[in-house]
């Protein structure tokens, strides 16, 4: 299994101490193992409040979700310091995975119940409106980005409703067949813009969706090493856990 290549990738984990709801650290664990199993070294740098993030040298960025209080805490820091540089890097093709709150922060704005608009970073041509109920439950979705018949599975828990525009060819990451997705209305789940992905899926999303993990890693390798393949892994439990959700909760 261990090909002796000396490939190294660097991941920046944004606000790991604040944005850590619903098992999202599982995404980091997954990326780390999937690199390790292929002889790739994954260096993980965390960047929280007041810390610098060198996106120029990074190959991947991860940003999770937090509670309202935690998101308020980091809002200024993100707006003023890390956010603009992150947007610039992502416009240049830096692969990025943002989940739930992180996904919302990268949109145009978040409109609260009282009509106030909290501006986002505007990487995604997407906006979020506060909803009156939480959208909670298992999700099964079609994700052609990851392969012809590929599905995406996970668990969502959000009250914001996100809507996508069309700037820059932004697309939903997947089309839900069970669950709510972005807004419970148009079947869209998440967003893909260049190599940046936003999603509402916890679970966490990467362990049970190895195709998405590998999509991010391939993009990272492409940028860093101008290609270079990812060897195939057995993915025994990855696939079984994925299938168990798809079969149990997916519409027949």
């Amino acid at each position: 299994m261990s090909k002796t290549s000396n490939r190294t990738l660097t991941l920046i984990h944004l606000y790991p101490d604040l944005l850590n709801l619903y098992g999202d650290r599982g995404n980091i664990i997954t990326l780390r193992r999937r690199c390790e199993w292929r002889g790739i070294t994954l260096q993980v740098h965390s960047a929280s409040l007041g810390e610098k993030a060198a996106f120029d040298d990074a190959d991947l960025v991860f940003m999770g979700g937090g509670s309202d209080r935690e998101q308020t805490l980091l809002f200024q820091d993100f707006q003023q310091h890390k956010g603009p540089a992150l947007v610039e890097a992502a416009e240049g093709g830096l692969p990025l995975l943002s989940v739930c709150g992180g996904y919302q922060l990268l949109g145009l704005y978040y409109r609260t119940h009282t009509g106030e608009e909290m501006p986002g970073l505007g990487l995604f041509d997407a906006w979020t409106e506060a909803g009156s109920t939480r959208l909670i439950g298992n999700v099964v979705a079609q994700a052609p980005l990851l392969g012809e018949q590929a599905t995406l599975v996970g668990f969502e828990n959000h009250s914001g409703r996100t809507f996508l525009g069309s700037r820059g060819g932004i697309q939903p990451l997947a089309q839900v067949t069970a669950g709510f997705g972005n807004n419970g209305d148009d079947q869209g789940e998440g967003a893909v813009y260049k190599n940046a992905v936003g999603t509402y899926l916890h679970g966490p999303v990467l362990p049970k969706n190895p195709a998405l993990a590998d999509w991010l890693l391939s993009k990272a390798l492409e940028r860093r090493y101008g290609g270079g393949s990812l060897s195939t892994l057995q993915d025994t439990w990855e696939n079984r856990a994925h299938l168990s959700v798809a079969q149990r909760f997916g519409k027949k």
């Binding site: 599982g26 509670s67 309202d68 805490l73 298992n138 362990p207 057995q234 299938l243 168990s244």
Partner: protein, 466 residues
Amino acid sequence: MLSPRLLAGLWMGKTAIWLNRRFGHGGTSFPGGIGRRVAPQILTALARQLKRGAMVVTGTNGKTTTSKMLAAIVEKSSLTLTHNRAGANLVGGITTAFIDSATIGGSITSDLGIIEVDEATIPQLVREVQPKGVVVTNFFRDQLDRFGELDKTVSLVGEALRLLPVQSIAVLNADDPLVASLGKDFPGRVLYFGIDDRSYGAREMLQSAETRFCRLCGHPLTYDWFFFGQLGHYRCSHCGFERPEPKIKVTGIQLKGEEGSAFTVETPRGTWQLELSTPGFYNIYNALAAIASAIRLDLPEKAIRAGLQGYRTNFGRMERIELEDGRRAFLALIKNPTGCDEVIRTLVQNRGPKRLLVIINDNAADGRDISWLWDADFESLEPVYPELRSVFTSGLRGEDMALRLNYTGIPAESIRYEANVESAIRSALEMTEPGETLYILPTYTALLESKAALTRLGHSPHYWEE
């Protein structure tokens, strides 16, 4: 005496309890629910007859254990009590316990009430019962899909405390900043408990910490010491909020693995050396909460000592199952990262060949969202990998669990999954050899299934009878 309407509610409830026992279905909250539909005031009418009032226990982890430890102390004090033992901690189940404990004429003859209550139910309960005190053990993320966010839960409990009658007292965990912050704006009396001994824990943050931020001003807290999760010795350098000096504190701890622990506790009534038969560091917090409540209720030291020493592990909280031929099995409920981490820590402390069976369900009572499996620190099993003879998973989400363990570094091919809980337990027991220990770690509904399966397989410990 009760009004005709209340009596009608009581009798309806009693009939439902009888039917329940006779035919074995309907659930523990159903009789109380019926009684309340007929007579909405029934819980208030019954609870107000308690001679020495009621103590209420809430919090994320340890409320069942704490209230049972307290019940053991009360019993050693030769007092009678009404207690929702079955762990039905919503208002229906609590009402059932009171209906069951009342005479046919509607009198409650118990001295004391001990009520374990779900965090979401506590404001209503305080309104109806007007307890003598409320114990808050800790706040961790648990079944988030049911409550929304932790902040809301904490605020809800704070709101309930403000509804307490003036002579009531709040018994709060000083080491949990989320709990202790409730004491800040509480106008009544507060009794804090905490652990001073730093022989356990770490100067650095451990895994699956909940929140390190000051609930009062939002700035990061500074910690001198962490026990687990966000529990420790902390202060906020921004607004000055800090760990309150506990009146009831543990100053010396000796952990004795599966045998339990011994510790020194300083109280306003003197310094005591106590023994606890229930293993796990976190159970010292539960014991402390029970001791604080007992002190509030003026129960004698002798009863506190005897109650804690005699108290056996609660249902599913690291229970020992007797097997023949020098084989051993332990059963421990896991339901959220912090509790799970503590179970893993106890498991790792015990050396020797072992086998592991983790059973994960995602029924409503378990929490539908199982992403907490990735917040739990299964990586800390690593030191016992050489001792781990086999690894099984089972339950509705057993494949997810297999995946989780695979990513801690256990090879995919050495993990065995059996969907059916009983056959998984049977296989694991069959493989367990003399001198080996089997650890069974189920979620809540999986624990119920495991218990039934173990009974069918002839391994039912007596202290399961409640």
